[in-house]
Point group: C2
Chain length 332, copies 2
């Protein structure tokens, strides 16, 4: 096994340069062209071995894909198209060079779908493998999506199903689960966890639907659907009602989980990287029709500050959603 | 002592928000406005406790200042004015909150001089304190400074003295050194190490001098003057002659170091964060006159690929500069 120490920083950089466009290599910084009427959007994630990923449960390719996807999702959540990412790496000397190349392979596989280059970064020695990604994108100022822009009466739209990523993780951790699922269903759920798709494809559809200037509120559901709705409501000083039956779930859940379990996965599981958007009812209906499977209006923005989970069929009592519920279920 | 674990990630973020402009807080990403005719410039540094800084030799304020200064210097080296920095932090739970606030204090003290905001970032748990900074700036495409743009006949300009930072470090590590220096001289050298100044002030002067379009080559001297000249020559496929007597040194060196030692500090010491620029002789002379103390033409770009250190007074024989000499002197 060739280790990072064997080839040194310069040797490693030389190997990693094939993942970057050649024109950006070799100066103190990378130069990118932005469109003249756009704002710059910047987001950073730090991921640490043993805390955010682990060789025990995640291949380096998947760790790379997920890191890139999470950052692109943050850009999508602002309405921004990606320009590039910078990658900072802290690596132990005894790490295999193969591992690092596989990490980059996974990152570029995700980025290529969105024509996003790795525009440089830094590689240093560290006792613990650390990955710091900064993604930058651009958005026309009138099309920025903000958490604080929700208004009473807005429909709450999800761009796809929730709970799939958490279900996939459970299947990976406990292979004895999901006996009733077909192999295809298992593969799809595990894929949702290992290779989540940032919903940048939603932005051109949104642009087409929204013909007059309007503020759209939203964020991504990386920390769960409940967290997204709660954060938007807090930032906008509004409340919300979510309709139990409208929250779209993977069909595989029918053969596996109770309705209560399924709902917990969807609300608190996290890492689905869908967008949760608030916009006027009429635009929301048109928008959902143009989106793929799982897109739905799942509730509406209300006055006050309460976020209520409501069951139209009254089989389940109304429930007030709070962030601490998510921690109770999965985080402790 | 209040630790990071005591107040949690949310508590720490709340404390750190006072270092960021309020309008950029609370969304998935920060939004920045760029000027319409400018290119975006991006640079990343990762710094790890025990590798790049240490509580034993560096206060958290100085570590923060130096990290910010290094990134701003990379922007200056590209000819770019800073727009903001994103800060990714990995922190052990038992780290004191005071330490983190002091780090941010040092960063903002450096950034404030250049009206540069911290525009967000990420704070996560890590077994080792890790600081990942990504700085972005903007530059008019015609004013980008590149390593690869040096041409035969160009003058090589340094924007200030070299060797001061390394001398300051030596005084910190070995207080018995520099007996002949005055307290003011010691303070100045130590200050050069602890609080280096990125040379963003050079850019408006350069803009004023350069009235017709011309390519300017350059980089910063963060890894030493020799490294900067060698990197520029490599990227531009040219050679260079450096004049021994023209390399500007701190005057304090006269009372302390032999000429040979002083030269080693200047060539290989590093972390002076001056700019090393190559431009036509006439422009170079005018440019140097507008710069402060220590700015000088230290050599010229030649055909071939040899980088020669020449002593006009012939007291020292000609010497070919290579990167490995730097490693021999200080890095082993």
């Amino acid at each position: 096994m060739t280790t990072v120490k064997d080839i040194g920083e310069q040797g490693l950089l030389a190997k990693l340069q094939r993942f970057c466009p050649p024109e950006i290599i070799g100066d103190d910084a990378a130069v990118l062209v932005t469109a003249p009427d756009q704002s710059l959007v910047v987001t950073t994630d730090v991921l640490v071995d043993g805390v955010h990923f682990s060789n025990l449960t995640t291949s380096p390719e998947d760790a790379g894909w997920r890191a890139a996807a999470a950052n692109l999702s943050d850009l999508a959540a602002m309405g921004a198209f990606p320009l590039g990412i910078a990658v900072g790496l802290g690596l132990p000397g005894d790490l295999s060079v193969n591992w690092v190349e596989s990490l980059y392979q996974g990152m570029t596989e995700c980025l290529q779908k969105y024509n996003t280059p790795i525009v440089g970064g830094d590689v240093v020695r560290s006792p613990v493998t650390t990955l710091a990604i900064t993604a930058f994108g651009q958005v026309h100022p009138s099309q920025i999506i903000r958490r604080s822009a929700a208004v009473v009466g807005d429909a709450i739209v999800v761009t796809g199903v929730h709970g799939a990523s958490h279900a996939g993780l459970q299947l990976l951790l406990h292979p004895e689960l999901g006996q009733n699922l077909s192999d295809e269903q298992k593969t799809a759920l595990i894929g949702a966890h290992q290779r989540p798709q940032p919903r940048l494809d939603v932005l051109p559809i949104l642009e087409k639907i929204i013909t007059s200037p309007m503020s759209i509120a939203g964020m991504d559901s990386s920390d769960g659907l409940a967290d997204a709705v709660i954060q938007i409501c807090r930032a906008s000083s509004v409340g919300a009602v979510l309709e139990f039956r409208e929250i779209s779930l993977p069909t595989a859940f029918n053969n596996w989980l109770t309705p209560e379990q399924a709902l917990q996965y969807a609300l608190y599981g996290g890492e689905d990287f869908e967008l949760v958007l608030c916009l006027p009812q009429k635009s929301a209906s048109a928008f959902v029709k143009h989106l793929g499977e799982g897109a739905a209006i799942v509730g509406r923005i209300t006055p006050g500050s309460t976020i209520l989970l409501h069951d139209e069929q009254k089989k389940f009592p109304d429930q007030v959603l709070t962030l601490s519920q998510g921690f109770q279920h999965f985080k402790s």
